[in-house]
Subunit: 280 residues, 2 copies
Amino acid sequence: MAKKKPVRKTVKATPKKKNSGNTKPAEERPVILITNDDGIMAPGIMNLVEAVKDLGKIIVVAPDKPQSGMGHAITIGHPLRLQKVNVFGDIEAYSCTGTPVDCVKLAVDKILHRKPDLCLSGINHGANHSINVIYSGTMSAAVEAAIESIPSAGFSLLDYSIEADFSGARKYARIIVKKMLETPQDKHTVLNVNFPPLPPDHLKGIMVCRQAYAKYEEDFMERLDPHGRKYYWLTGEFVNFDKGKDTDVWALANGYVSVVPVQFDLTHYDLKAKLEKLWK
Amino acid sequence: MAKKKPVRKTVKATPKKKNSGNTKPAEERPVILITNDDGIMAPGIMNLVEAVKDLGKIIVVAPDKPQSGMGHAITIGHPLRLQKVNVFGDIEAYSCTGTPVDCVKLAVDKILHRKPDLCLSGINHGANHSINVIYSGTMSAAVEAAIESIPSAGFSLLDYSIEADFSGARKYARIIVKKMLETPQDKHTVLNVNFPPLPPDHLKGIMVCRQAYAKYEEDFMERLDPHGRKYYWLTGEFVNFDKGKDTDVWALANGYVSVVPVQFDLTHYDLKAKLEKLWK
């Protein structure tokens, strides 16, 4: 599970055309798949495309509608559609009727017909730190890519607003993507990157962290419909149970961009060792 | 994150009525929440209720329709409804319009008004070993419970058929639930339990395992609708990349009930240590 490969694919064939200027021939540029969970029209994905579009050949495949909170959902019971759209200028882009995870699967199998060199997801409108990584469609798309042996990163800004200022997020998303392209990555790498809602010159830098044990305490709002029947809206209060200074929640509260490397082997090895003794 | 508490809640008040026979007073019995992702009418959940109904006070809250592949999806954009239903005889049961994770959240906040002592999910029609743990609504419900500090287990049978034989699964689900009730559990315990499709006397016993690196290789089926437009169905071939004899896939192929303890701290600590050096 831990073979290294450089993200930047090296094509050994000599370019046939002379390469004038600083643009590499298309076949030498890394292929970067971009998706999100807020939908293809969200400002966050526009900002991510703008931040990295000169770093590789970009393909966008993103949901046609918001898919927040979809986690690692896939579509089994009905078919999916893709629609080529023109929303990022010259960049090839498709909207998809499925979930963020469906977008990654379909992009690889039916659009790219190969694994991209990198997959990026976001920039999400709202935090995906701590336990949110599990509920997040943004992060699940990135995790799906890593399962498929495509190094990936999900990006989220701690601002739900549609008019959020993405300038700090853009600066650091670009720095992180360049780092990923310039150094060999384990093919199962997934980074969960969150940005405090600060302008670029107020951000203190990048902090590599662990996932905080912090979560929402649910409190459903109960209402009556016009026919007198109850219905419930999910609400909740965010509570941090984790006092560590090495967590994503701490980093974000202190002005750092948090980077949590994520795994998809969910085995709890300590508990496994205990149960092997207890259940003999 | 690792405080121990006994699953069986001890209520110290002396029972007011004399307890004749072997049934404990209701207030001393552990409260067991049961859910699934195949929907409240699926044979799998009926079999799980039957297997454990005398081990505690059972409450069922399950989706009103199949929710396979929903992963850890939650419902944010629209409200949820609960409907009291009479499908398990004397046992209190509700169908819910949401996902399996929604069912757990709603059950705790609006039905039980307390944390149950144990949460069980399944028995799923179909395998949730290896990477399936990430896509599975059955397992996500169990993981949600553990996030909420409720020890839990998800159960799945390697047979998708609606007429599947659950007799072996029932026998071992009961054994495992008894083990969980009889020994103190970490409040964040989640067990991913899978059963080979074998009758009780052909099962070799329980094997505590790690999650195999095995996954589906996607291959979408492309079709044309009556208007000539393309649509795609998710299909795929299961491939095991993991040759270990300590995995859930190995256990199941060799006639054992597989038990993988699951964690929800997704931090990849090895990669975190590497990045801390590399990105300094």
